[in-house]
Each structure stands twice: as structure tokens, then as C-alpha cells.
């Protein structure tokens, strides 16, 4: 099974892990895993949600203690006990969830721990901090005000900052855990350019992603994990697409679901369905310019656009999370727009937010509680769902979305990133809304699960639910949506009806 390409065998091994094992309680998250990173290569780590990728990475960087196993850096045994130690040894990491301080400025997040100082007084040289930070961001093709607090920027930017920080550390091993999950194509491209440059300089790069095309675009070799075990390592070019997927999920993947004309006809989402919600000139000063949008029963409306184009903002207005100050937003026969999420939920709206960590999961609550939370909120505090009912609903969604969890009572914080995302999705599906707003719902979800979820959304639409679907992936939009609205610079610039293709959407986004 093991083959190594002629390009790699010659290069020196930078980081070698042997027999890494880690149990959480009774669950084996990782069993006897070997990993070999060579200098000057980009090594992709693949696997389904919960396969153990992040766990492996946290053990490489001293953030988590291993039950068993050894690490070697440049042939010398190492045992970093803390991230600081790993950093000092030259292992630089971007963790899956953005791990930066939201209250500090972008520049500080980039340079914390190694600020440039004045020569005389040893105090921090702020002008230089700013210059260096701007240079670092420019390296990723981004110009932004580095003095603003990080929390003021959307997740995508935060992710770029985290990447820029790790690149700025002088390291010999760079580890990136799903760095591209909320980036759109141009940022991904900028990141890849930088990664290739670093590869030229001899760095070993470990790269986790669920996007197969990205894997093939940059990586030299691929290691696949399944259920905490390593199932294979090969040169990327030698590993056909289908075979790779098969080794990840342990079976062949069904042909992809696609939005075909047949599908559209089968669904109720024809232009004639009754209106579920409609926006007339909906907007907010300083936020979204007035938008007109109709959403009908059984219809999947896609919302396309570049990062910062205002899609999230629009969704939040619709859900009552931000208050609109112009235009009209009608949901069903309701006389007025929702003023807060509680009202929106009562009206039958649902919104799966973009920021899973801050607005999605409640880490301390169990999977069951997270799943029933919105449904319960909709029922009010008195009509409490019986424990048996809760368990039934939760179990149903755990099975449906294939959520990898030790049990229904496991705190959600202990789930892998992708599985947390599925829990948030399940929460909203459980409310059986009339309009479901999904803001990047498949962030960090693996190929197989994503396909399941898409199919599920289409099925729900066929049953009469309306969906507003926001995604950075144009293909995904084209595949699932009946109609695609495109936003640019915080205003809606047009709509495209099916059948349409990626190029048409891209053209509209680019404004030509």
C-alpha cells in the first residue's frame, strides 16, 4: 500500500511521529498512528469528521498529552509539553478553531510574544508593530487596518490573521488545521501561493482540509485517518480521487447529488409556490443596501458573493439579530418583522449562524441539549419536552447527520469541529422551520457528510420548506439552489435562475 514518490524520498524527514495513541475516557480518539513529514513538502491529512486529525495535531504541538507514542524532530526525540515549547522547537500551528484574542488588535494578535522593542527602554515599538503586522497581512494579499480589535472582523479575516501569525513565526514545521474552511477562493489562492513559497524554502507543512480539489492543488503527499487509525499514506498524484474518498469513508461514495432540472421539477419549488417570506428594500444604514428578495415555499435560494459582500449581514437582518432600519421584511402572514431571534423562531424562521464557536454551540451543554435548544425555546419554558422525547429527537438527528459522538450526553465541546457544526445544523432542522437560513452550514464538514446534508436540504425543500443558502463555494450553490441571488459591496446585484453554471455566477460576482 505504501508508495512514496521519487520527489519526496530524497528529502530529509522533518517530523516523525510513531505510535501516537490517545483515549478520551473510554473512547479511542487515536490509535497507534504514524506520521512522517518531510522538509519541503506539503502533506495533506485527510479523514472524516471525528477521524482524529485535530487530536493528532494537538499532540504534535504539545497542546494535548499522548497516552503513548514518540515524536522526533530532525532525528532528535522531542516531547513538547506545552504549545510554547513546541513553538520554540520550531513547530508553528494554526488550530481548527480560531485561537486568538478577540479583544486585542490584529497587529497584537500577529505579534504577541515577540513584539519589536525600542532599543533604549525595551518598551514596545508600536509603529514598528504596525508596519510589521501590515507586511505580514500583505503577505497573504490582505490590506486591513491592523489597529482594530480582531473581534471587529469576520471569521474569515480572523482565520487569515491566525494563518499570518503562524507564518510569521520562524519555524521548520507548519501545521494548518482546516485553515481554509471559511475562506473564499481568492484567499485560498493567496494562502496556497504562500504555502508553495514556504515549501521552496524547505519547510514541512501539514495541511488539513475537507476540500478534495484543494488537496490536489497543493499537496505532495496525503495521509488518511479513519476512526483514529492511519489507513494509508501516498503521493497525492498517485491517489485517484475516488480511491482517496473510499479510503477515508471506508466505502464507495454514491454519485454526487446534483440539482438537475428533474430535481427542480420534482420539488415544489417552482416559481408558483406560495410566498414564505419577502424582503422589500430591506437594509440597514451602514450595513446592507436595500435588498428585494422573495422566497417561496419549497425553494432553495442561494446567496453568492465574495467575502464581506454582506450576505451574513443580510441573513442577520432577516433573523432579527440586527435591527433593520429601512424597508420591509414579511414572514408569512406576520404583520411585522421579527425584532429578535426569539420572535423569529416563533415565526418559523431558523438561522444556522456562521460563527459556530461564538454564536452556535453551547460547549458545556450536551449534544442532546444543544439539539433541542431552539425547539424548546420555541415551545416556551413551560411546555418542557420530556427527556424521552428529547432523547428521541436528538438520537434521530445524530443518526440522520451521522454525528460522531460518544453519546447523547457528551458535552458538545468535546466533539470534533465538524461534528459540532452538524449539531448546530441539527438544532435548526429540529425546529422544522418554514424558512431555514443557512450561513455557511457546511464549514468543516467532510465530503461524505456534506453530500448527505445537501441531499437532506433538497429533501426538506421538496417537503415544502424554504431555504436561504449562503455558501462560499459556488459549485455547492449551483448544485443545490433553485435560484441564486448575488451580492456585491453589500448590495444585491442580480439573480440567476436554474439552469445556470459556475461561470455565470462567478461572472456576476465579479461584476462583468
Amino acid at each position: 500500500m505504501m508508495t512514496s514518490g521519487p520527489t519526496n524520498a530524497s528529502q530529509p524527514v522533518a517530523l516523525q511521529a510513531r505510535g501516537l495513541t490517545r483515549h478520551f475516557g473510554g473512547v479511542a480518539a487515536l490509535q497507534d498512528v504514524d506520521l512522517c513529514l518531510r522538509g519541503g513538502e506539503i502533506h495533506a491529512l485527510m479523514g472524516q469528521n471525528g477521524a482524529g486529525k485535530s487530536t493528532l495535531i494537538r499532540m504534535l504541538t504539545g497542546a494535548l498529552a499522548a497516552d503513548a507514542g514518540t515524536l522526533e524532530l530532525d532525528g532528535r526525540a522531542i516531547a513538547p509539553a506545552t504549545p510554547v515549547e513546541a513553538q520554540r522547537l520550531g513547530i508553528s500551528t494554526v488550530y481548527q478553531e480560531v485561537n486568538l484574542c478577540p479583544n486585542l488588535s490584529v497587529a497584537e494578535n500577529l505579534l504577541a510574544g515577540r513584539y519589536p522593542r525600542h532599543r533604549r527602554w525595551r518598551t514596545i515599538d508600536w509603529p514598528r508593530v504596525r508596519r510589521e503586522a501590515e507586511t505580514m497581512m500583505a503577505g497573504l494579499g490582505l490590506e486591513l487596518d491592523v489597529r482594530r480589535p480582531l473581534s471587529r472582523y469576520p471569521v474569515a479575516i480572523q482565520q487569515m490573521v491566525a494563518i499570518a501569525r503562524s507564518l510569521g513565526l520562524s519555524a521548520c514545521v507548519l501545521i494548518l488545521d482546516e485553515p481554509t474552511s471559511s475562506l473564499d477562493e481568492s484567499e485560498v489562492e493567496a494562502l496556497f501561493t504562500v504555502m508553495r513559497g514556504l515549501r521552496e524554502r524547505g519547510l514541512a507543512i501539514l495541511f488539513v482540509t475537507h476540500f478534495l480539489d484543494q488537496v490536489y492543488a497543493v499537496s505532495d503527499r496525503i495521509t488518511v485517518l479513519r476512526n483514529g487509525r492511519r489507513v494509508g499514506e501516498r503521493v497525492a498524484a498517485d491517489w485517484p480521487h475516488a480511491a482517496l474518498v473510499a479510503s477515508m469513508i471506508g466505502r464507495e461514495l454514491q454519485p454526487q447529488f446534483a440539482h438537475t432540472a428533474a430535481n427542480a421539477a420534482g420539488s415544489a419549488g417552482s416559481a408558483g409556490g406560495p410566498m414564505v417570506a419577502s424582503a422589500r428594500g430591506l437594509g440597514r444604514r451602514g450595513g446592507v443596501e436595500p435588498v428585494d428578495l422573495d422566497i417561496r415555499r419549497g425553494e432553495v435560494v442561494g446567496l453568492g458573493g465574495l467575502l464581506g459582500s454582506g450576505r451574513t449581514e443580510l441573513a442577520r437582518l432577516m433573523f432579527g439579530l440586527d435591527r433593520s432600519d429601512r424597508g420591509e421584511w414579511r414572514v408569512g402572514t406576520q404583520p411585522s418583522a421579527p425584532r429578535n431571534p426569539a420572535e423569529a423562531v416563533a415565526m418559523g424562521l431558523a438561522m444556522c449562524p456562521e460563527e459556530r464557536k461564538t454564536e452556535g454551540i453551547v460547549a458545556d451543554l450536551s449534544v442532546r441539549e444543544n439539539i433541542v435548544l431552539s425547539l424548546q425555546a420555541r415551545r416556551g419554558w413551560r411546555r418542557y419536552l420530556k427527556l424521552a422525547q428529547q432523547t428521541k429527537i436528538a438520537a434521530e438527528f445524530v443518526a440522520l447527520l451521522d454525528i460522531g459522538t460518544a453519546g447523547l450526553e457528551t458535552p458538545v465541546g468535546q466533539l470534533s469541529g465538524g461534528n459540532q457544526q452538524k449539531v448546530v445544523l441539527a438544532r435548526w432542522l429540529a425546529t422544522q422551520p418554514s424558512l431555514l437560513i443557512l450561513d455557511e452550514p457546511t464549514r468543516g464538514i467532510d465530503v461524505a457528510a456534506k453530500q448527505e446534508i445537501m441531499a437532506r436540504i433538497a429533501a426538506l425543500a421538496r417537503d415544502g420548506m424554504a431555504v436561504l443558502f449562503i455558501s462560499a463555494e459556488i459549485e455547492e450553490l449551483v448544485r443545490v439552489a433553485d435560484r441564486i441571488a448575488v451580492m456585491r459591496d453589500r448590495r444585491k446585484v442580480g439573480e440567476l435562475a436554474q439552469p445556470c453554471d459556475t461561470h455565470a455566477v462567478l461572472a456576476m460576482i465579479a461584476g462583468s
Binding site: A63, T82, P83, V84, Q87, T93, Y95, N99, L100, C101, P102, N103, L104, E108, N109, A112, G113, Y115, R122, T123, I124, W126, A138, G141, L142, E143, L144, D145, R148, P149, S151, R152, Y153, I157, R165, E185, S186, E187, E189, A190, T193, R285, G286, G287, L306, L307, G308, T312, E313, R316, L321, D322, R323, E359
Partner: protein, 345 residues
């Protein structure tokens, strides 16, 4: 595709922060709002009471709140790091008692006593910091225990209050920095101003200061970013202990006495000053300058009440509450309207 993505500097407030201010989360330090309110209150005082707007009244504000200033600077760091220190008042009292007893009853030299009590304060802070850091104990309980301990030790050392008649102390107590026009500052006020300046420098321009902010913002992230969370935290409490001891020394100059009941309830006043100055109690946001303004505001409220001179004891309390309320509400309104304007521009 590869061209630099030009992103507009954001013109709206951080999403999700409007109207839900009470949700813990980053918010802007309402420093300017505090200053505005401070000015507004002084003007109101000047209109109401003749003689209020004299320079000496404002310098007295500094003179009378010097101890509070010093203590609040230390407290700011603790709160910025996401902790809390309830032991400050008791530590101030302990410092005065130890100083007074050593100087008066044992005849030690002040130049020996002062470094000693400062070291004592630092040691006390380190002790609490270590308990918090090493054993994962909640700061609230540890520092509450520290408060009992410090106050208790002060009682054990001397229940009676001890007057200080030592010439050096008396000389410092009487020393005034003339500022011209017949107004002057006491030594304590000068120390307080220096402490504030040093605190601002420490918070703004040193790696330690920034690490305190990082830990307050997100301890887990700070740890993963490779900051030395443990040592920073212990140093924060040591700093607070140092400031309390320094505050104690300033208090001995101010009162020329050591007494175990000094600085009763000072911890709460210090916390209030810090929070009124715009620092989030949950940590990560705020400034030392804000704390300074907070101390002045509390002092000003007190001065207004003294100037009124007609309030009965209970109306004094109610007036304190009302002024506090008026101030905090005004501050919130200013902060909000600024946010509103920001989104318009």
C-alpha cells in the same frame, strides 16, 4: 484572482454588539464617555455650590484619593487579566499597622520599613497568585481568604491604632509640592500620579501588560499563542500586592497612623473605580487612564455630597446611589450614541 483583496475599514460596530451590550463580549472602552461625565459633573457642581470650582478642590480630589489611585492601578491589572483581588483594603491596613508598629514601637528606620512592607505586599500577592495558578482555585475565594488573613494579622499585631510621630514620616506628610497660585500637592498625590503613569506605561508598552490583556481576552488562546499564562498571572497578583503596600505607605503619610480598621471596604471602591473607568470585569478590556478617571469620579461624587452639607445620613447614601446611577447611565448613553454615529458616518 490573486490581487490584493481590498477590504474597507469597517464602519459598522462589531456585529451582534448593538443592543445586546449586557452580553459579555468585547466592547469599546467608554473612556471618552467617562471623561465627558467627569467634566459635566464638575460643571454641575460649580453651578450648584460656590467655591466648588476652585483649583484646590480638584487637587484635594487627588490628595484625598491618592491611596485609592494607587490601589486601583494594581486592581486594574488584576481585573484586566480576568481575576479579582478582594484583599487590597486589608493589605493596605496591614501595611499601615506593620509600618507604624515597627517605626514607633521598635524604632526601626523608615528607610528599612518601607522596602520591607513593599516586599511584604509583593510576597502576599505572590502567595495568592500561586494558590490561584497552581491549584486552580477561584480568585474570588483566594483573595477573600487573603482579605481575612491580612485583616486578621493586622488585628493580631495591634488592635489599637498607633500614631506615628517619627520625624521622617511627619516630614513627608507635611511636604507639599507647590504648584503656584497657593495650591499644592501632597507627597501621596505625587506618588499616585507617578503610579498611574507607570501603570499606563506598563499596560500599554510592555510585553507583560499586553499579555495581561491577552489572558483577560481569552486565556486558552493566550496559552496556545505561547504566552506564559502562569507566570503572568502570578505577577499580576504580585503587582496588586505591591500597589496595596504602596497604597498603605501613602496612607501612613496621609494619616500618620497605623490602624487595623483603616481602608475598610476599599476593595469594593477600587473595583467600582476600575469598572466605572470602563474596564470589563470579565477582563481583557479597559485602561489605566480609565481607572484614574474612575477614581476621580468616585471622589467627585463624594465631594459633591460633602459640599451639599444638608443631607442626612441616609439621604447621603441615597444620593451616592443616585449620582452613581446618573453617571453610569449617562456613560452608557454616550457610548451608545457614539456607536450609532459611527454606523451613520
Amino acid at each position: 484572482m490573486n490581487a490584493a483583496v481590498r477590504l474597507q475599514p469597517q464602519t459598522t460596530p462589531a456585529r451582534g454588539t448593538r443592543r445586546r451590550r449586557w452580553l459579555p463580549g468585547p466592547q469599546q472602552a467608554p473612556m471618552a464617555a467617562s471623561v465627558t461625565v467627569l467634566v459635566a459633573m464638575s460643571v454641575a457642581g460649580g453651578l450648584l455650590f460656590p467655591g466648588f470650582l476652585s483649583p484646590q478642590v480638584f487637587l484635594n480630589l487627588l490628595v484625598d484619593n491618592a491611596v485609592m489611585c494607587v490601589v486601583a492601578v494594581g486592581m486594574s491589572f488584576v481585573i484586566l487579566s480576568g481575576g479579582i483581588d478582594l484583599s487590597v483594603g486589608a493589605l493596605v491596613a496591614l501595611t499601615t499597622v506593620v509600618s507604624a508598629v515597627l517605626v514607633e514601637h521598635h524604632g526601626w528606620s523608615p528607610w528599612l520599613v518601607m522596602p520591607l512592607v513593599l516586599a511584604l505586599g509583593i510576597g502576599f500577592g505572590i502567595f495568592m497568585g500561586l494558590l490561584i495558578q497552581c491549584f486552580g482555585l477561584p480568585p474570588f475565594v483566594v483573595t477573600l481568604g487573603g482579605m481575612f488573613l491580612a485583616r486578621g494579622l493586622a488585628y493580631v499585631i495591634s488592635v489599637d491604632s498607633v500614631s506615628i510621630t517619627q520625624p521622617t514620616y511627619e516630614a513627608v506628610a507635611q511636604w507639599r509640592l507647590p504648584l503656584g497660585g497657593g495650591v499644592s500637592l501632597s507627597a501621596g498625590a505625587v506618588i499616585a500620579l507617578l503610579t498611574v503613569a507607570a501603570g499606563m506605561l506598563l499596560a500599554r508598552a510592555t510585553a507583560f501588560g499586553r499579555a495581561v490583556y491577552a489572558i483577560g481576552g481569552s486565556e486558552g488562546s493566550a496559552y496556545l499563542m505561547g504566552l506564559r499564562v502562569g507566570s503572568v498571572r502570578v505577577r499580576v497578583y504580585a503587582l496588586s500586592g505591591f500597589c496595596s503596600a504602596l497604597g498603605g505607605i501613602v496612607l501612613t503619610f496621609y494619616m500618620l497612623s497605623g490602624y487595623s480598621l483603616h481602608a475598610q471596604g476599599m476593595e469594593l471602591d477600587a473595583i467600582a473605580a476600575v469598572v466605572i473607568g470602563g474596564t470589563l470585569l470579565t477582563g481583557g478590556q479597559g485602561s489605566i487612564a480609565g481607572t484614574f478617571v474612575g477614581v476621580l469620579i468616585l471622589g467627585l461624587i463624594q465631594t459633591l455630597i460633602v459640599f451639599d452639607g444638608s443631607l442626612s445620613s441616609w439621604w447621603t447614601k441615597i444620593a451616592l446611589g443616585v449620582l452613581l446611577f446618573a453617571f453610569c447611565l449617562l456613560q452608557r448613553l454616550i457610548v451608545r450614541s457614539r456607536d450609532g454615529q459611527e454606523s451613520v458616518s
